[in-house]
């Protein structure tokens, strides 16, 4: 899932851009980027347990914010490191809903090294939109 870190946005914290063909894949790309900011070897997170996550929002960027925040919540509240395997987005008149299938393993079982403890997703420069060529792009700054 494509992403890149953007050092020029912030010195104290970590910024990344992610892109994908669809908003669903973009949430997965951004989740991969978040994990890569937290871990030196995110590919080593094994799918030993599964979680279903549901987040809703009135706008896509807020949906992304809440989807990413779930990763931090599961890490702290349940001691789990997860990757997003599948994302489904539904729109109703009132809101946008993301249903996410996550899989991962307990923090203690992770066989790689931790890098930075990401504290929070921020709204600073937060963007999720489709560009002129139809590609979905997101910018996220996380508090590290």
């Amino acid at each position: 899932m494509p992403y890149r870190f953007v050092p020029e946005i912030t010195r104290a914290d970590i910024a990344f851009e992610a892109w994908a063909e669809s908003p669903e894949e973009l949430i997965r790309s951004a989740a991969d980027a978040l994990l890569a900011a937290m871990l030196t070897a995110p590919a080593r997170v094994r799918a030993r347990c599964r979680r279903r996550i549901r987040v809703t929002a009135g706008a896509l960027d807020l949906l992304l914010y809440r989807a990413l925040e779930e990763i931090l919540f599961l890490r702290d509240a349940d001691g789990l490191l997860v990757r997003y395997r599948r994302v489904e987005i539904r729109r109703t008149k009132e809101e946008i809903e993301a249903r996410i299938e996550a899989a991962g393993e307990p923090v203690e079982a992770y066989r790689g090294e931790f890098a930075t403890e990401i504290k929070a997703i921020t709204f600073h420069e937060l963007r999720m939109a489709q560009d002129a060529r139809g590609l979905w792009r997101a910018t996220v700054v996380v508090d590290a």
């Binding site: 010195r11 509240a77 890098a115 930075t116 403890e117 504290k119 921020t122 709204f123 508090d143």
Partner: protein
């Protein structure tokens, strides 16, 4: 002309952009720094500080401390006071790690006594104080206890046997923000943070054993007032905050503020991370009460860690913490908003002072300081990088111009990812060992991010606040051991 160039030097340690420079700035923006530190500031700091100057109800001036660097919304090192009751409160001016702060504890041991036992000491501390990503502690309060802890802070810990009554007197706000109301906190925040009381965390959070060499005592009388009298006296300093609990409180309320800020309060801002609402609004008051809970969680977190440190020293040296004279010198808060009384153009006014990566520093004689600090002023703990050393300073009357605020650390010169590319954690650990600094870490990648060269020169930061009259120097400490989360 870049925004940086628009800031004009108004003294040897202060640069200013007047409010009139931009149509939406309500007050002027000031940067406190030496010329060297001003040059080192990243460009985003200037924009972020100017954005802060646009907040409704902000009081002249907003400021950035010499260890400032760009963050999100406010710069790290940012200070903004807003009028109470008609100004705003902004979670972005406090940060996600609410009441991240520093504690400093003295001992009556010297480096000659500690160095032969330093490995054993660090190994035991590493076990007693959990650190690293998402780690939980041995202390797991139930819902009712956690609720009480959130409203009572460090006092709850002391009443339950974790510490000494006098610790409260040497903690900012006596270790409790009284506005705390746990009913204003979400279930998510509680679930995220309850198991993390007594844990150090990761990133720039650390625990250090340090030495005060005789040549590093700047003010022997002030040092003596804090019990620092021995040549090569050993102290313990640590840095941590409100962990996942505080992060979730900030996140919950940022989202809530964004939902009402424009529609209900007609407030427009330049960066969503500066989301704010009137302090005297249901949302503003609720956030203040929840933020106070997070501040209290951080005070409690540091109180439990202090208790563990005392236990470890007692175990290793076979003497009680009292016999080892392990009195706390002080506990300072970095990321808070507090209601304080300040003089504004000759009038005494209640203000909400937001400090994000900045330290409150009350001067001698300040009415909010306990008796023991009336002569000295408030102790200020400025943590440097793990390679460079740290400082104890004291509050000064000159800091009235920054709402009695001073620096909090050395401030990043390099981003975390830059530092990780440039330094190798394992090599760094060996190099530090060669220089007499024994390190234990939960992450070598994280250790590389904290390399000394990734930070600004702490001596220069302290020069800026001392020359600028924001603080008075007491002593400098150099590390002999470091536990890095």
């Amino acid at each position: 002309m870049s925004l940086r160039d628009e800031f004009k030097r108004v003294s040897s340690t202060c640069w200013e952009l007047p409010a009139a420079a931009r149509p939406d700035m309500r007050v002027s923006a000031r940067i406190h720094a030496t010329a060297e530190l001003f040059r080192e500031l990243d460009d985003a700091v200037f924009q972020q500080l100017c954005n802060v100057a646009t907040l409704p109800g902000v009081i002249e001036p907003v400021a950035c401390m010499p260890d400032g660097h760009s963050g999100y919304g406010f710069p790290i090192g940012g200070v903004a006071a807003t009028s109470v009751p008609d100004g705003v409160i902004s979670p972005g001016g406090i940060g996600f790690d609410i009441n991240c702060g520093m504690r400093l504890v003295r001992t009556n041991l010297t480096s000659a006594e500690v160095l032969p036992r330093v490995r054993e000491l660090v190994d035991q501390l590493f076990k007693a104080v959990p650190c690293g990503v998402g780690r939980s502690g041995a202390f797991k309060p139930g819902d009712d206890d956690f609720h009480d802890l959130l409203e009572q802070g460090a006092g709850w810990c002391v009443r339950h046997g974790y510490g000494w009554e006098e610790d409260l007197e040497t903690t900012e706000d006596r270790g409790c923000m009284e506005a705390a109301d746990a009913r204003r906190v979400s279930r998510r925040a509680i679930d995220r943070g309850r198991a993390q009381v007594g844990t150090l965390g990761s990133g720039n959070h650390y625990l250090e054993i340090q030495v005060m060499a005789p040549e590093n005592v700047a003010a022997p009388d002030l040092a003596a007032a804090f019990g620092l009298t021995l040549p090569n006296q050993v102290v313990v300093m640590f840095h941590c905050g409100s962990r996942g609990f505080g992060h979730q409180v900030a996140s919950d309320y940022l989202q809530r503020f964004l939902g009402v800020m424009s529609s209900k309060y007609r407030i427009r801002i330049r960066d969503r991370e500066l989301a704010c609402v009137p302090f005297e609004s249901p949302e503003g008051r609720a956030y203040y009460a929840a933020m106070a809970c997070a501040a209290n969680m951080a005070f409690a977190n540091r109180q439990i860690i202090l208790h563990r440190i005392r236990d470890v020293f007692a175990d290793v040296f076979g003497r009680s913490p009292q016999e080892l004279d392990m009195h706390q010198i002080y506990d300072v808060s970095h990321n808070t908003a507090k209601i304080e009384r300040h003089e504004v153009r000759g009038d005494s006014r209640l203000l909400l002072v937001h400090r994000k990566g900045a330290t409150r520093a009350f001067p001698p004689g300040h009415p909010e300081l306990p008796g023991r600090f009336q002569q000295t002023g408030q102790p200020v703990i400025v943590g440097g990088s793990m390679e460079s050393g740290s400082y104890l300073l004291c509050g000064s009357r000159g800091a009235a111009e920054t709402f009695y605020t001073t620096a909090h650390g050395s401030g990043r010169r390099m981003s975390r990812r830059q530092a990780r590319r440039r330094f190798d954690g394992r090599r760094l650990l060996r190099q530090m060992a060669d220089r007499g600094i024994h390190v234990r870490t939960s992450s070598f990648a994280g250790l590389a991010e904290e390399a000394g060269a990734a930070y600004k020169d702490i001596d220069e930061v302290v020069r800026a606040v001392v020359d600028g009259g924001l603080s008075r120097p007491v002593a400098r400490f150099v590390p002999i051991a470091n536990i890095k989360g």
